[in-house]
C-alpha cells in the first residue's frame, strides 16, 4: 500500500537532489535544470497531499490547480531564463557560474 | 502662532533663506537679533510666574499621541536666553566665511531652541538631532586640522552622539511605554508627568530607566567615561560651532535629565547603585578631566577639556536632586554656556590672528590687546567660579543643595563627592590661571603680534561678558524666573 508518506519521501528526495545540484553544479544550464527538478518535487508533494486530502470523498483540487500554475510559471521562467543565459553565453562565451563574479563585496 | 513657535522658526527660516540665496550675514544677524528680543520679551512676560506658560499645541497624531506642543517654564526660558545670546554672539563674530557658517550656526541654534521650548518628548528629541547634523558637517568640513584628522574627529563625535541618541531614544521609548496612562501612548511631557505623579513606578524600575536615560543623555553631555569625543571635537570645531555646541547644545542632555528624567523618575537618581554610579562618573569628569586639563599645553585643549570637566558639577546638582541644587544646576548651565562660548570665541580669534595656541609660544598679549585680555579674563575667571560672575552662583547652590539633608557626624556619599568636587575648583583655577599667565602675562613673545579687535567685533564678546557680570551680580534675576518648584 503506497501511503502519503511514500510520496512525500520521494518528493523530499527530489527536492534535496535538486537543491544539491543547484549548489554543486557549475554549468548554469544544469543548475537551471536542477531548479526545475525542485519545482517538480514541490508539484509531487502538492499532488500527493491533494490525493490524500479527501473532500466529500473526492481529492481536493485546489492544490492540483496550483500544480498547473506552477508548470505554466516554470515554462515562463524557462523562456525568460534561457534567453538570459543565451545572452550571457554570447557575451562571455561561457555558461559557467564562475563567469559572473564581478559584483561582490 | 505662539511666540515660542516664532522663536523656533525664525532661525530655521533664516537658514533656509540663506540657502536659497539671501545675504548671509544680514539675514542671520537680523533673525538672531529679533530672536533675542523675542526671548527677552518672553522672559519679561514670564517674570514672577510659575508653571508652564505660552503653551500651544498642534496635534499631529492621535495614537501614539503626538503633537507639536510648545511651552516654556523658567528653565526653558533661561536656556532659550542662553541660546539666543550665544547664537547672536557666534554669528556676529564670524568674519569672512562662506554662508555655510551662518546656515549651520542658525540650524544649531534653531535646533537647540526647538529642543528647549517644545514640550513633546518626540520634538525635544528631534530638534536636538537636527542640530547635530550641522555640527558634524562643520567639524568635518571646516575644522581646524588636516582633512583626515578633522574627519576622524567629526566621526568620533558623531558616532558617540549618534549611539548616545539611540540609547536615549530607547530610554525615552521605555518612558513613554511606562507612563502612557490608559490605552494610548503619548509623547506629551505634561501627560507623562501627571501619570508619573499618579502612578509612580517601583524604585528599582525607576532606577533602571533612569540609568538608561543617564547613559543616553550623559554621552551627549560628555559624562565620564563617555566624554572622549568632546575635547577633540571642540578643539577642532570652527569657532561658531564650538561656541554653539559647547555653550548651548551640550546643555540639552542636562536639560533632558532635569526636565524629563527627574520629574518622571523622582527616585531614580536616589537608588543606591544609580547614585553611586553617577557619583563615580561625575568624579571622573571633575578629577580625571581636571588633571587632563592641567596637562593640556594648548589653549583650545584646555578649554575643550575644561568644558568636559565642568559638566561634572552640573551632574552633581542633578545627583543631589534637591530644589537648591537643581536650580543651581540650571544657573550653572546658563553660566557655563555663556562663559565657554566667550572663551571659545576669543580662542578662535587668537588662532586666526596668531596661528598658534601653544602656551610655550605665547606671552604678553595683554600689552597690545588690553580689551581682549579683559574679555578673556571675564571668561576664564567665570569658569573658575569667581563670585560676581554667574558660574559662582550656580556652583555654590549646587554645593549647598547637596547639604540640605545633613546628619552631623556622618557624611553621605553625595557629600563626600562634593568635598572631592570642591578640589576640582582648585584645579580649574590651576589650569585657567596657567593659561592666562602664559598667554597674557610676561613679556610679549617675539614674532607674535596681536591687537584688540575693532569695536564692532568686540560687541559680541562684550555682550557675553556683560551677561556674566549682570547675572553674576544678580543671580536672583535667574532664580526669579524659576519660581516654580522643580
Amino acid at each position: 500500500m503506497i501511503t502519503l508518506g511514500h510520496y512525500l519521501v520521494v518528493s523530499g528526495m527530489l527536492f534535496s537532489l535538486g537543491l544539491a545540484g543547484v549548489i554543486a553544479r557549475r554549468n548554469i544550464i544544469i543548475v537551471y535544470m536542477c531548479l526545475e527538478m525542485m519545482l517538480s518535487a514541490a508539484n509531487l508533494a502538492l499532488v500527493g497531499f491533494s490525493r490524500f486530502h479527501l473532500v466529500n470523498g473526492l481529492p481536493d483540487y485546489t492544490a492540483q490547480s496550483l500544480v498547473f500554475f506552477t508548470i505554466t510559471v516554470a515554462a515562463a521562467e524557462v523562456a525568460v531564463g534561457l534567453a538570459i543565459i543565451v545572452a550571457l553565453f554570447r557575451s562571455k562565451q561561457s555558461v559557467d557560474v564562475e563567469s559572473v563574479t564581478k559584483l561582490q563585496g | 502662532m505662539s511666540v515660542l513657535e516664532l522663536i523656533i522658526a525664525l532661525p530655521l527660516l533664516a537658514a533656509l533663506a540663506i540657502w536659497l540665496g539671501a545675504p548671509a550675514r544680514a539675514a542671520s544677524l537680523g533673525a538672531t537679533f529679533i530672536n533675542l528680543i523675542l526671548v527677552l520679551y518672553t522672559a519679561v512676560q514670564y517674570w514672577g510666574k510659575t508653571g508652564l506658560a505660552f503653551t500651544h499645541s498642534r496635534p499631529i497624531l492621535e495614537n501614539p499621541s503626538l503633537s507639536f506642543a510648545v511651552g516654556a517654564d523658567g528653565i526653558s526660558i533661561i536656556l532659550a536666553l542662553l541660546t539666543a545670546l550665544v547664537m547672536l554672539a557666534a554669528i556676529w563674530q564670524i568674519e569672512d566665511r562662506p554662508p555655510i557658517f551662518y546656515v549651520s550656526s542658525l540650524l544649531i541654534g534653531g535646533g537647540a531652541l526647538g529642543a528647549f521650548l517644545t514640550t513633546d518628548v518626540f520634538f525635544i528629541y528631534a530638534f536636538h538631532e537636527l542640530a547635530l547634523i550641522p555640527t558634524f558637517l562643520m567639524i568635518a568640513l571646516h575644522g581646524r586640522a588636516e582633512p583626515a584628522q578633522r574627519k576622524a574627529v567629526a566621526w568620533k563625535a558623531t558616532i558617540y552622539l549618534g549611539v548616545g541618541s539611540l540609547v536615549l531614544l530607547a530610554g525615552l521609548v521605555w518612558l513613554v511605554l511606562e507612563f502612557s496612562g490608559g490605552s494610548k501612548l503619548t509623547f506629551d511631557l505634561e501627560a507623562l508627568r501627571s501619570q508619573a505623579k499618579l502612578n509612580p513606578l517601583p524604585d528599582a524600575k525607576q532606577a533602571q530607566i533612569f540609568f538608561v536615560l543617564l547613559l543616553g543623555f550623559g554621552s551627549l553631555v560628555s559624562l565620564f567615561p563617555f566624554h572622549s569625543w568632546a575635547a577633540p571635537a571642540y578643539a577642532t570645531a570652527p569657532t561658531p560651532v564650538a561656541m554653539l555646541h559647547s555653550g548651548v547644545l551640550k546643555k540639552f542632555g542636562l536639560y533632558g535629565l532635569i526636565r524629563i528624567a527627574l520629574p518622571l523618575l523622582p527616585q531614580g537618581a536616589h537608588v543606591e547603585w544609580v547614585q553611586n554610579a553617577l557619583l563615580l562618573m561625575l568624579l571622573g569628569n571633575i578629577l580625571v578631566m581636571g588633571l587632563v586639563t592641567i596637562h593640556a599645553s594648548r589653549l583650545d585643549n584646555t578649554l575643550a577639556n575644561s568644558s568636559v570637566m565642568h559638566m561634572g558639577y552640573i551632574f552633581l546638582g542633578i545627583a543631589a536632586g534637591t530644589e537648591i541644587a537643581l536650580k543651581g544646576a540650571v544657573i550653572l548651565m546658563f553660566a557655563h554656556g555663556i562663559s565657554i562660548a566667550l572663551l571659545f570665541g576669543l580662542c578662535g580669534r587668537m588662532r586666526n590672528q596668531l596661528g598658534t595656541l601653544e602656551y610655550n609660544k605665547l606671552g604678553g598679549l595683554a600689552t597690545h590687546a588690553p580689551a581682549f585680555t579683559v574679555l578673556f579674563a571675564f571668561g576664564s575667571f567665570a569658569s573658575i567660579g569667581l563670585p560676581g560672575l554667574t558660574n559662582f552662583a550656580g556652583e555654590v547652590l549646587i554645593f549647598l543643595g547637596n547639604f540640605t539633608e545633613f546628619k552631623a557626624g556622618v557624611l553621605t556619599n553625595l557629600q563626600w563627592t562634593v568635598i572631592l568636587a570642591l578640589w576640582g575648583v582648585v584645579m580649574s583655577a590651576v589650569y585657567m590661571l596657567r593659561a592666562y599667565r602664559s598667554i597674557f602675562h610676561g613679556s610679549p613673545a617675539t614674532g607674535l603680534f596681536m591687537i584688540d579687535p575693532v569695536f564692532s567685533q568686540r560687541v559680541p564678546f562684550i555682550m557675553l561678558a556683560t551677561t556674566l557680570l549682570v547675572t553674576g551680580c544678580c543671580p536672583w534675576l535667574l532664580l526669579n524666573l524659576m519660581k516654580s518648584a522643580l
Binding site: 543547484v22 549548489i23 543548475v31 557560474v97 564562475e98 559572473v100 563574479t101 564581478k102 559584483l103 561582490q104 563585496g105 | 558617540y160 567615561p225 563617555f226 566624554h227 580625571v288 578631566m289 588633571l291 587632563v292 592641567i294 596637562h295 534637591t322 530644589e323 537648591i324 536650580k327 604678553g364 595683554a366 600689552t367 579683559v374 575667571f381 569667581l386 563670585p387 559662582f392 555654590v396 547652590l397 554645593f399 549647598l400 547639604f403 540640605t404 539633608e405 545633613f406 552631623a408 557626624g409 557629600q415 562634593v418 568635598i419 570642591l422 575648583v425 583655577a429 590651576v430 590661571l433 596657567r434 599667565r437 602675562h441 610676561g442 613679556s443 543671580p475 536672583w476 532664580l479 518648584a485
Partner: protein
C-alpha cells in the same frame, strides 16, 4: 544708607574705570581717589550707626529653601574694621598718587584698587558666610590683579598666580566649612543664626545629634580659609612673593587689611572655635608656629619689603594665635572681663594695621627715593636724606617692636601675650615672647642698616625726601601708630580694645624684656656694618618651603596629570570608543566576506539558510517555549 555708599561707591568706581578708562584718561585716577575719600567720610558717619543687619540685595534666593543676600551687618567689629579699611585705604590712594605717578597703567591700578576697596568692605560688612565667601574671593581677585600689576615681569606674573592658587586652597576648606555649617544649621549660614545655634540651637553641646568631631571639623575647615588668606603655615608661601606688587598695594592689602581678613573672619566665628577645644589648640598652635617661623625668616632677609612681609606673616601668626588662645582660655573658664569686651586679636589687628601700613608706605618712599632699589645693604644713611620718612618709619618700627607704654603696639602685643598666658599653655606663651624678641631684633636690624651708617650706593646717596603727597599719609599713619591704643583717642575704635586690666607681671616683664634684648642685640650686631655679620642659610632660604612645595606640585600635579592623561587615553578612550568601533568594523568586514560574488556560494548559503531556518523553527523554537 551710609553703609551701602561705602560698599557700592568703590564698586561703581571700579566699573567705570574698567569700562571707560580710555575715554576718562587721567580722570579715572581722580574717580578712584575721590571715591576712597568719600567712602572714608561716609565711614565716619557709619561709626555712629546703631547695630543693625540690613539686606541690600537678594543675591541668592531659592524660594523658601535658602537665601543669602548682600547684607550690611553693623556691629562693633565691622565699625572698627571699616574705619581701618577706609582710612588706610584713603591714605594709600593718596600715597599712590605720588608713587604711581609715572606708571602707564595707572587707570588699571586705581581701578583694581577700587575693586579691592569694594571687596574688602564686603568682607567687613558680611552678615552671612556666603557673602563673606563672595568678597573673600573678590579680594583674592583684586590682590591677583594688583600683585600682577607689572605682569610683564615674570616674577610678578608668577607671584600673582601663586597668591591666587594658594588662596584657592584655603577657600577650598572655607567652602567645606560653610557647607558643613549650612547642613548642620538647617540651611542658614547667617552669622547671628549660627551664633544662636551654637549657644542654644542644634549645634550646642548636648543638642540631639551633636557631634564634637563635627564641630572640630567645621572649625578647622573654616580656619583653612583663614590660613590661606592670612598666610599661615603651611599656606604662607604666597605672601612674601606678593611683594612683587607696587608697594602701596603691599601696604594696604598685604599688610593692613586683606591679610587680616582671615583674623577678622575667625573673630566673627569665634563661637565656633570656642565650641571645639581641639580646633582652638590647633589654631593657636599654627598661629604661634607661623609667628615664630616667619620671625626667624625675617632675621635674614635683605629686601626691605620682604623683611616687612615676613614681619607681617609673623604678626598675623600672632593674631591667629590670639584667636586660638582666647578660645582656649574661654574653655578653661577665663571669661573676658567687662561687658562686651574687645578681642585681643582684633585689637592687634587694628594697631598693626596702622603701623604696618605706615612701614610699608615708608619702605615705598625709600624705594621710590632710591630709584626702585629694595636691597637694604645698598641703602644706608637715609636718615639724613629723608628725615620725614626716617622719623615716621622709626615710629612705625617702635610700634611694631612694642616700645613700652608709648606705642600702640605695646598694648596690643601685651594683650596677646596675656591671652597666651591665660590659655594655660606655656609653650604658646614662651614662643610668643620669643617671637616678640625676634621682632625687635629684625626691625631694629632693618632700621640700622637702611637708615644709619653711610650710604652704600649711588642711589642711596642721591636719595631725596619724597613729595608732600606721599609724606602726608606717612605722618597721619605715624600718629595713629602711636596713639591708636590710647584711651580717648578715636573713641569708636575703643570698643575693639580688650577691657583694660592690670597686666600680669610675667607678661609685662616678658614683653619689656623681649623689647630690650631684641633691640640691644640688633644694635650690637649691626651697628656700622657693611655686610651681614651672621649668615644662616636655612633662614635666608625660608626653610626651603618654596623648593619643597615645588617638588610636591611637580609630583602631585604635573606628574599625576601626565599619568592620568595617559591612562585616560588608553583605557577610557580605548575601552569605550576604540574597542567597540574596532569590533564593529571587524564584524562589518567579516560579513562582507559572505558577499563573495560567487553564485555557488550564494546558493549554498541560501540552501543552508533554509535548512537552518527549518531547524530553528521546527526544533529549537518550540522547545524555547516560544
Amino acid at each position: 544708607m551710609h553703609a551701602s555708599i561705602i560698599l557700592l561707591l568703590p564698586f561703581f568706581s571700579a566699573l567705570v574705570i574698567l569700562l571707560g578708562h580710555r575715554q576718562l584718561k587721567g580722570a579715572s585716577v581722580l574717580i578712584s581717589v575721590g571715591s576712597s575719600i568719600i567712602s572714608f567720610i561716609a565711614c565716619l558717619f557709619f561709626l555712629a550707626a546703631e547695630d543693625d543687619n540690613k539686606l541690600l540685595l537678594p543675591f541668592l534666593d531659592v524660594g523658601g529653601h535658602f537665601h543669602a543676600g548682600i547684607e550690611v551687618l553693623i556691629d562693633k567689629q565691622s565699625r572698627g574694621m571699616m574705619f581701618i579699611v577706609s582710612f588706610i585705604g584713603m591714605l594709600v590712594h593718596i600715597f599712590s598718587l605720588g608713587y604711581m605717578k609715572d606708571d602707564d597703567a595707572k587707570p588699571r591700578f586705581f581701578g583694581s584698587l577700587s575693586l579691592f576697596m569694594f571687596s574688602m568692605t564686603g568682607i567687613v560688612l558680611a552678615g552671612n558666610l556666603i557673602m563673606m565667601f563672595i568678597f573673600w574671593e573678590l579680594v583674592g581677585l583684586s590682590s591677583y590683579l594688583l600683585i600682577g600689576h607689572w605682569y610683564q615681569k615674570a616674577s610678578a606674573a608668577e607671584a600673582c598666580k601663586k597668591a591666587f592658587l594658594t588662596n584657592r586652597i584655603g577657600d577650598f576648606g572655607f567652602m567645606i566649612g560653610i557647607l558643613l555649617l549650612f547642613g548642620a544649621n538647617h540651611g542658614s549660614v547667617n552669622l547671628d543664626d549660627l551664633a544662636t545655634a551654637f549657644k542654644s540651637g542644634p549645634l550646642a553641646p548636648g543638642a540631639p545629634g551633636y557631634s564634637a568631631g563635627f564641630t572640630t571639623a567645621a572649625a578647622l575647615c573654616i580656619f583653612l580659609g583663614a590660613v590661606g588668606k592670612s598666610a599661615q603655615f603651611p599656606l604662607h608661601v604666597w605672601l612674601p612673593d606678593a611683594m612683587e606688587g607696587p608697594t602701596p598695594v603691599s601696604a594696604l592689602i598685604h599688610a593692613a587689611t586683606m591679610v587680616a581678613a582671615g583674623v577678622y573672619m575667625l573673630v566673627r566665628v569665634s563661637f565656633l572655635i570656642e565650641a571645639s577645644p581641639l580646633a582652638a589648640e590647633i589654631i593657636a598652635g599654627i598661629g604661634c608656629f607661623t609667628a615664630l617661623l616667619a620671625a626667624l625668616m625675617a632675621t635674614q632677609q635683605n629686601d626691605i619689603k620682604r623683611v616687612l612681609a615676613y614681619s607681617t606673616l609673623s604678626q598675623l601668626g600672632y593674631m591667629v594665635m590670639a584667636v586660638g588662645a582666647v578660645a582656649m582660655a574661654a574653655q578653661h573658664g577665663h571669661e573676658a572681663h567687662g561687658p562686651n569686651p574687645g578681642h585681643p586679636a582684633m585689637f592687634h589687628l587694628y594697631t598693626h594695621a596702622f603701623f604696618k601700613a605706615m612701614l610699608f608706605l615708608g619702605s615705598g618712599a625709600v624705594i621710590y627715593a632710591c630709584h626702585h632699589e629694595q636691597d637694604i645693604w645698598k641703602m644706608g644713611g637715609l636718615r639724613k636724606h629723608m628725615p620725614v620718612t626716617f622719623w615716621t618709619f622709626l615710629i612705625g618700627t617702635l610700634a611694631l617692636m612694642g616700645l613700652p607704654w608709648i606705642t600702640s603696639g605695646f598694648y596690643s602685643k601685651e594683650a596677646i601675650l596675656g591671652a597666651a598666658y591665660d590659655s594655660g599653655c606655656s609653650i604658646l606663651f614662651h614662643s610668643a615672647a620669643l617671637t616678640a624678641l625676634l621682632t625687635s631684633f629684625y626691625m631694629m636690624r632693618l632700621v640700622i642698616i637702611a637708615f644709619f651708617g653711610k650710604p652704600r650706593t649711588e642711589s642711596a646717596h642721591h636719595a631725596t625726601e619724597v613729595p608732600v603727597i606721599m609724606c602726608l599719609p606717612l605722618i597721619a599713619l605715624a600718629v595713629f601708630s602711636v596713639l591708636s591704643a590710647w584711651d580717648g583717642f578715636a573713641t569708636p575704635l575703643q570698643a575693639l580694645k580688650p577691657a583694660h586690666e592690670p597686666p600680669h607681671a610675667t607678661v609685662l616683664f616678658a614683653s619689656i624684656a623681649a623689647f630690650i634684648i631684641g633691640t640691644g642685640g640688633a644694635i650690637y650686631l649691626y651697628r656700622g656694618k657693611d655686610k651681614d655679620p651672621i649668615s644662616i642659610k636655612l633662614f635666608a632660604n625660608k626653610f626651603y618651603f618654596d623648593e619643597i612645595y615645588a617638588v610636591i606640585v611637580r609630583i602631585c600635579q604635573d606628574r599625576l596629570a601626565w599619568i592620568v592623561t595617559a591612562l585616560e587615553r588608553v583605557f577610557v578612550d580605548g575601552l569605550i570608543a576604540r574597542l567597540p568601533t574596532a569590533i564593529v568594523a571587524r564584524l562589518g568586514a567579516a560579513t562582507r566576506l559572505l558577499q563573495g560574488g560567487h553564485l555557488q556560494g550564494y546558493t549554498f548559503l541560501l540552501g543552508g539558510g533554509v535548512i537552518a531556518v527549518i531547524y530553528l523553527v521546527v526544533f529549537v523554537l518550540p522547545r524555547m517555549g516560544h
